[in-house]
Amino acid sequence: MAVDKLVDSTQLDADLTSVANAIRTKGGTSGQLAFPAGFVQAIGDISTGDNVATWDEIATRSFREKNVELSDAVTELPRNLFEHSNIQKITAPGVTTVGSGVFLYNNGITVIDSKSFPELTILSTSCFQSCTTITAAIFQKVETIDQYSFYQATSFTALDIGSHSSGVVPEADNRIKGSNVTFAGGCKLDTLIIRQTHRVMDLQDIRNFNGSAFNDNNKVATLYVPASLVSEYEAATNWSTLLSRTNNYIVAIEGSQYDGYYVDGTPIT
């Protein structure tokens, strides 16, 4: 089954440089090349038929590819698709669900930005487990965070799950699942942003934050929620305990979606 294409940007850059060098040699110059108007458009119009791949091909190529781009037509990623892969960036604008362990042991992704998975509603079991390079993730419509999703993600510090979507996920699953594993095992989470305004997201077990900054009195951790829900979070089961710990804070979200969130001084959009 043909599903989409992969783009190896590193190889593409090298190929384009080779072409430019050949043109310079022919022209007897070492100067900057000026491409004619419409050149970029013409490149963009070239058929991508040779890049059409199957899931197996994508999984195999993900060990050497750095950048995966999927079309709107792809709505689901199979379980363990990118397990042990080295991909660094993914764009999946149509994906609503991912199988368990989809990025398990990935060693390349550092940031999932808001354009990576704009339609995703469930962070599946072990989806980023043991992904040691990921530091932050921004989603727009996530309503369920399943167990082990960031377990042993040892560089992970910040998660923005976006706002409530269309109610695809049953109300009972609008929660952080798991007993003591979701953000545990060395996960360094210190910033959690929950933008949904219709209700408090349930926390199945406070021990899901074991080992993170939320469970370390010596580290500052912050939960961002809509202003209308601050008092409800402060009284909610498990959240109330978490927020009573030293150096844990709750802050009302200000501004429009995704405003005000930065990693190392660089805004993530």
């Binding site: 167990q147 009972a172 929660r175 699942k177 798991g178 007993s179 003591n180 594993v181 545990a184 349930d202 926390l203 199945q204 077990d205 406070i206 021990r207 009284a235 089961t237 498990n238 109330s240 305990t241 009573s244 710990r245 030293t246």
Partner: protein
């Protein structure tokens, strides 16, 4: 059976509610594997479904695995 124990967080009294039968504890239709609340709220829970093994306490599972290895002579 529902088991409730008190604990302190920064001088505030909290109650931890669990099931000694490995079940979820349920309140207002919401299931928790462990529920912690400020004591003054007086929240009450009932027992729900059994917690699946994959959602049980990892420390306990690890201890069981280590005990199994010792019994099988894999480690000491």
């Amino acid at each position: 059976m529902i088991v409730q124990t008190h604990f302190d967080v920064n001088g505030r009294d909290f109650i931890r509610t669990v099931s000694d039968a490995g079940r979820y504890v349920v309140r207002d239709g919401i299931s928790y594997s462990e529920a912690c609340d400020p004591a003054e709220y007086g929240r009450q829970y009932t027992e729900g479904e059994l917690i699946p093994p994959e959602e049980q306490d990892m420390d306990a599972l690890t201890a069981k695995a280590e005990a199994f290895d010792i019994l099988m002579g894999v480690s000491e």
